[in-house]
Assembly symmetry: C2
């Protein structure tokens, strides 16, 4: 197993490839819409993010011999959904965050109406990218990718999870099912990223099933580590305010299981994810490292 | 040509067919997401709207022998986009409207965060419906419908138009290109509805071109008549506050052309739309009536 630094280098290399494509797609829109809206969309998207969901699309597709170039459009599509959700989650009526990756959030840098519209147009962009022939020459693959991403993003996925999260916070409910809320809010997109890679790779059902177990545990690890960082991290490293969840009396894995309990659960998800990858042998090295990276992340 | 009342009856019949399908689609989500979010989505969608965009999808498809049943899923998809845009446009940070069709808007009936998320999830629903095999068994048709709707909805269409409209209002600009703004904000979806009907009907290029001229003029007529109603209508009939645009010093067709000038332009769009339908002969009777209805609407 390579040192973690090798993994972060792989992640960074793919991230810059994704960033270049995102910039090219947005640049292609210049002069064809509202300049201010495009500027807000660029602000939301071209922010040096880790591009973890695109990475998962690309690396899962690579398990089946699909090149990163062939997976890149689908990879950007899921990043647009992720970015739109951050813009809307940061709004004053939602989580009311002024800072994202050390930069002013969209409604601070622009204004609230522009932030609402930028999120809206970024969501549309995701589906526009997937529907285009530039994404894939087989329309059946395009439609499958679309259905996967849409199902993960809406009422029964990300948006529904954010609603439940807001409700839980408002009620200061300590006994909510954190795992269910987070599996919708954060997990659904991570699962969709892996599933989209499998669609691009024309994976067999048994392979899809194994990848689903992997991605569900990966998503869970993502949220548990986020909750741990909220307690143990500092704002400068994490790049956003910490201590916010505990300050808000929000139900988290740490508040429900304690710090040690959360760490034990994190370890368990890691084991289950790695077991699911066994059938892919050495080919799954990068996906294994992704899981290890998630369990030990500092930001 | 039948009396206008025959047309409004056709429109109402299709609207109730569309409403039944919309309700069924939303009911199928019950218990699978956040209850409050689904309730807000239902509030936004099941409001007795005219369903004019679904009507255009269905009637354009009917030109080519496609049954209303076969066009119904695509018809609901565009209505979800329309409804999402109304929920977000009504937000306090946007047009700040409390009333829609005589009912409290979503952020009034629920709250602002729920309204943002309901709009988001309704947009997702549109693409989910189109990507599903229930919509059409040919994935190429599904992908074409998706691309058409996405292009019309985003930065270069509806969302971009709303941004330009807000900017024009903030600047109290009297010399903005109202026609360009409105062709994006309102016209893009009307054009997409007709184009989606043509896609379902496998229309030839010459037929698509003629239908584009029809739909562009129809969209223009929609906006001109809206501007006229803002000046001449009363709130009870129109179902929303009137006099709002002129009170806000907003550039409209009436403010730029005067009431007579706007009526003359409306008449001109009608003539151009009807000329474009000539090649379809008697089959286009309902689409002709739609144009006449638009020019003479009272609400």
């Amino acid at each position: 197993m390579p040192a973690p630094s090798d993994f972060t280098r792989t992640l960074a290399q793919l991230a810059s490839k994704v960033e270049v494509r995102l910039a090219a797609q947005l640049d292609a829109c210049a002069g064809r819409g509202a300049d201010r809206l495009l500027a807000a969309m660029r602000h939301a998207v071209l922010n040096g993010g880790k591009r973890f969901r695109p990475f998962l699309v690309i690396e899962t597709a690579a398990l089946f011999g699909v090149t990163s170039e062939a997976a890149l459009e689908a990879a950007t599509a899921i990043e647009y959904v992720h970015c739109y959700s951050l813009v809307h989650d940061d709004l004053p009526s939602m989580d009311d965050d002024d800072l994202r990756r050390g930069q002013p959030t969209v409604h601070v840098a622009f204004d609230e109406a522009t932030a609402v519209l930028a999120g809206d147009a970024l969501q549309t962009m995701a589906f526009e990218v997937l529907a285009s022939v530039r994404n894939h020459d087989d329309p059946a693959v395009r439609a499958d990718l679309l259905l996967e991403l849409a199902t993960a993003s809406g009422l029964m996925g990300m948006a529904g999870g954010q609603m439940l999260d807001l409700e839980a916070e408002a009620a200061q409910a300590k006994d909510i099912d954190v795992q269910r809320v987070q599996s919708m809010k954060t997990g659904a997109l991570i699962k969709a990223a892996v599933a989209m890679g499998a669609i691009l790779g024309h994976a067999r059902q048994a392979e899809r099933d194994a990848l689903t177990i992997y991605s569900e545990n990966l998503g869970l690890a993502f949220q548990i580590s986020d909750d741990i960082l909220d307690v143990t991290g500092d704002a400068a490293t994490v790049g956003k305010a910490t201590g916010k969840d505990s300050g808000a009396n929000k139900a988290t894995f740490v508040s429900q299981l304690g710090l040690d309990g959360a760490r034990a659960k994190l370890h368990q998800t890691e084991n289950e994810a790695l077991a699911a990858l066994e059938q892919f042998g050495n080919r799954a090295g990068t996906l294994r490292n992704a899981m290890a990276f998630m369990s030990s992340r500092k930001s």
